[in-house]
Symmetry: C2
Amino acid sequence: MKKLAIGIDIGGTNVSCGIVTNDGAIISKFSFPIKDFETIESFIVYLSEEIKKILEEYKATAKFTGIGIGAPNGNYYNGSIEYAPNLKWKGVIPLASMLSKETDLPVLLTNDANAAALGEMIYGNAKGVKDFIMVTLGTGLGSGFVANGELILGHDGFAGELGHTIFDPNGRSCNCGRKGCLETYSSASGIVRTVKEMLLNSDEASILRKISLDKLSSENIYKAALENDAVAIKAFDYTAYVLGIMLANAVAITSPKVIFLFGGLANAGDLLFKPVKTYFEEHLLALYKNKIELKPSGLPENDAAILGAAALVWNSKQ
Amino acid sequence: MKKLAIGIDIGGTNVSCGIVTNDGAIISKFSFPIKDFETIESFIVYLSEEIKKILEEYKATAKFTGIGIGAPNGNYYNGSIEYAPNLKWKGVIPLASMLSKETDLPVLLTNDANAAALGEMIYGNAKGVKDFIMVTLGTGLGSGFVANGELILGHDGFAGELGHTIFDPNGRSCNCGRKGCLETYSSASGIVRTVKEMLLNSDEASILRKISLDKLSSENIYKAALENDAVAIKAFDYTAYVLGIMLANAVAITSPKVIFLFGGLANAGDLLFKPVKTYFEEHLLALYKNKIELKPSGLPENDAAILGAAALVWNSKQ
């Protein structure tokens, strides 16, 4: 009887679920909006009914090993979502135990970027790599650190917040309430802030001036850069400068073999990777120079969150 | 028959050796200057003769489990010292295998701050703590990171260089050839630089003006601060500001339970710990606030390096 896991990604807008084999094939998937669920109890009722249908459907052909969940502010140790600013459910939500009770399956939970790191390790380009950093470049910047072959969870289960390391203590205001966090510079929202600053502080010609400020996005900056727009190219360069320095700092802590870049901005390819590599090497301590690979993630973007969540199950020693 | 280890600390000036029990008692110790040994071969001949005398002396009463060495730029994986700027022996020195061949004992080697972290874990205040950071504040700033109960060695054995994370990419020149490294601010030499800058850039009264610039040391700054000298106190405050921010950044990566401060500057007690705690908490991401202890090391300063080196032997799974 084949073994399967259920991977669930809880985002600020949608919940995505998939049935995943241990070699990373997604047999089926579905998603639904999260906004309909005012309370966690109503969410658990709905989700566990959906899962029970799946268990019933596969009961003759497969055994489910467990459920993995990637969620904002997910705490691996106690399976809770804790004070997630982007979710309606406030405080500490013991999601794993609630879902486990309803489904009779082991439920493991961690934050989305840590799940992505496990996904990279089990299904992606980090197979067999014992020391690596996974960086997810979305609206914000998430990260997961693997050392000695294990995800660094930290004392409280909240390790791996590279996006909130401070690049400039007097720098840009961050949603977290502090200033100068890496993700205010090097993320989809960060590059938009950089372009806005550049457009407002200079008269340099740019096709981006034709777009209203509230429509500016990392996608139009990317397209402008492909057309050699000077402002767009400088914005990628500055994004890469800050990211290169902060990755060099992270290397001085965990000394990884590979750093994987994943998500929207990473899809800009050489436009981002080339200058990141340059600034990264320039700011590395001599000991580490020319040793560390900077690679795109091997996870398919649309399914990465589900695969990462399922990877929690296959990574577990249970 | 009792089990013993030999702990060896190789510094830029002296080599210290001790015979250590597995509960951290140093039975005997000796040290000798390193400058007499122009070649690594002459050093190995001398050191292995000394070790053979020890083995002979104890042969009826104890069994030696191994030799642990803390050394600058020490690579745990291959037991080499690699391109250490403060030692005469250039290039890659396979010290562990050379010494093992002469003594017939297993020899383990890592850098001095990583050894100190293991020492803290096995003999000091980190017993039973699975996630912590050890920071050694000497002339420079060294560090060792423990996560999931294991020292983070990194892909190449060189993890844990917090002193060379960049606080300000346009900041103070560092011996490593780059700019703005943490250790140029927060270390014994860093606080001296801070005081020199303050004395040169202002006319503020200070008893430190009576000391010639080449005689200024962290010790006289400490004494001046105890006498409420405003410049000395501001220098401690700035040292703590930079350290507090960079420790907050390190927390966002490994999320430790405790951070231990060890060595010269840490002996300043509240003068350093109080402002570090303030700036640290101020710059922590909300998730981590009021969770992480900042503590002095539990290792006796004079013997810490030997204990740390010996801890390599007791930590080994061999």
